[in-house]
Amino acid sequence: MKLFEYQGKEVFARAGIPVPESRLVTCAEREHDRIAAEAAEAAHELGGRERQTVVVKAQLDMGGRGKAGLIRMAADQGEAAAVSREILAKGYRIPALLVERAVNIERELYLSLSVDPQRACFVFLASAEGGVDIESLARERPDAIRRVSIDPFRGLQAFQGRALAYDLGLRDSAIGSFTALVNALYAVFRNSDAELAEINPLFLTADGELIAGDSKLIIDDNSLYRQSGFELTREQFDSDIAYAAALDGIPYVQFDGEISLMCAGAGLATTVFDLVNFGGGSVANYLEFGGPNYHKAQRAMELCLRNRSAVILIVTFGTIARADVMAQGIVDAIAALKPDRPVVTCIRGTNEERAHETLRSAGLEPLLDTEEAVRRAIDLAAQNRGRTS
């Protein structure tokens, strides 16, 4: 689960990582004028007597917010209202605006903690060149990034934080601030079962203070059962369908093509996705029907029917996810939902003979070859095109 900037900063702040003082203005279902007024009020509160500059930051899961004009400075209340309106006018789905007091920045650093799957450890990456795209930096000037491996059992050692501080060229009080921050980020990462805990940029002020300029905190979905405080919300998803699918534990991604995929297993689903594209078709949605969800045929088909696809393509090749159970589910779903678009089935695996009988008796043709099924779906989509557009 990927947290929004403001959520990650809340977690950071609780762990003792300094963040800018801020106010959150929620946007969902609200008028732009109302939002802009609240942003102005927040700017007033934060600016105080010295009328400090604030930053208005759109909260959404997207890289390059700065370049897209979704992060804007504002010198006073009026400007805060104006830039808020401009941000909202861009037409993105923005659940909230974060209004922060601007920081007097001397340098921007980079710091993150993630997992090294090969060496089986945790890895701090740090750079004296923060605020840039770290992946580009890694490609272009790998020497600009310091890497420190953390033994998952011994944990972070004091010398490792110091080593990073000196290698980043920090001095005096900034060294103590930095090692404390490294400790806090490690605690956040471990205690919240994170996949990634990133601060980019990490601001260094003239008086040696460090302040998190942004947050990127991804919680491991497999660990959510032992975490609290991380709830799925509508804001984390691009569409109502994707949110509904997530609540049911069904992996779902929305695209804008014609073929709804209901495929068993990430690997096979991804392969079918490729085959559709190779064949000149286009995908309406990716949906995993299989694994723990192989009983959920009706729910999966409902989700597919909620988007404007021209055809539903079902491809499975299951072992535990029994073909006969899945076929019966499909037949029942069709009876219940009466889909307004054709359904192509290519269901193989455990008990597939019985599955094929079930499909045939419901008037469905049980295909056996994945590529043939993909071709059939593409053809049907083309025929059906007029109807859906």
């Binding site: 799957p117 497999n222 992996p251 990430a266 991804t270 490729d274």
Partner: protein, 298 residues
Amino acid sequence: MSIFANQETRIVVQGMTGKEGGFWTRHMLDMGARVVAGVTPGKEGQTVHDVPIFHSVRRATAAHPADAAVLFVPPRFTRDAVYEALDAGIRKIVTLADGIPLQDQVQIRRTALEMQARVVGGNTSGVISPGKSMLGMFPYWIERVYKPGSIGVMTRSGSLTNEVTSMVVRAGYGVSTLIGVGGDQVPLSRFAEFLPEYQNDPHTEAVLIIGELGGTMEEEVAAAIRDGLFRKPLVAFIGGRTAPAGTRMGHAGAIVTGGTGSVRDKVDALEAAGARVADRPSAVGTLLQRAFQEAETQ
């Protein structure tokens, strides 16, 4: 011979009295696997399919020495169960659970590396040496997809493995040992770690890798070929060529991360090392045939 598991491999099944454990133990036995004991705390003295159950792995192996363990254990208890098997001296472990916490996986893998143990999984169907042994969950209709043969297979996927392996069989080949390293972001064992064993296995004539976008396991395979650690023909299939960058479609592992992890980079690395890469499952058989033809003419 086979790698990882053969007719001689003595297997303990952790979680044997559970629904899945009991079901697949029956099937494993039918497939020739030498299952010597089961483990479920609190159930010592019971039997499942005539296999005796013990409270703990140590108590099981004290009575029935074992080389390997397969775990039908929920994800949140996987770390403990793997440690228990390691503590009892077992050095080949297959854990099938889908949903093991990420940081647990880091710890399990680190421990396995330190102890020089092979832990395979999670989020996998397991390991099979068709006709010899099986640790995990492979289909009944095995002859169509898991016919015994000379192709070593390693995979990150489940259903896709059935799809691709059926193409191997359709092309006239079979499988020596299939290892499902699993679809997680931190596979407990990695493709390249098994290549030396496949290289040394006289019954493996070529290896097929079923990869996926994300991670660097396929690049490590390319490096192993370049470094001469693996010298037999190698064919790969990697799904996700048309997946949009940055979109998480399925497994946690399937995230394109910058310049690494993309299917393009993987294909380039493998082809540069001399491997053949299929763009669709049906192409796998053809590429295997070509690889063997070329190997013969050399």
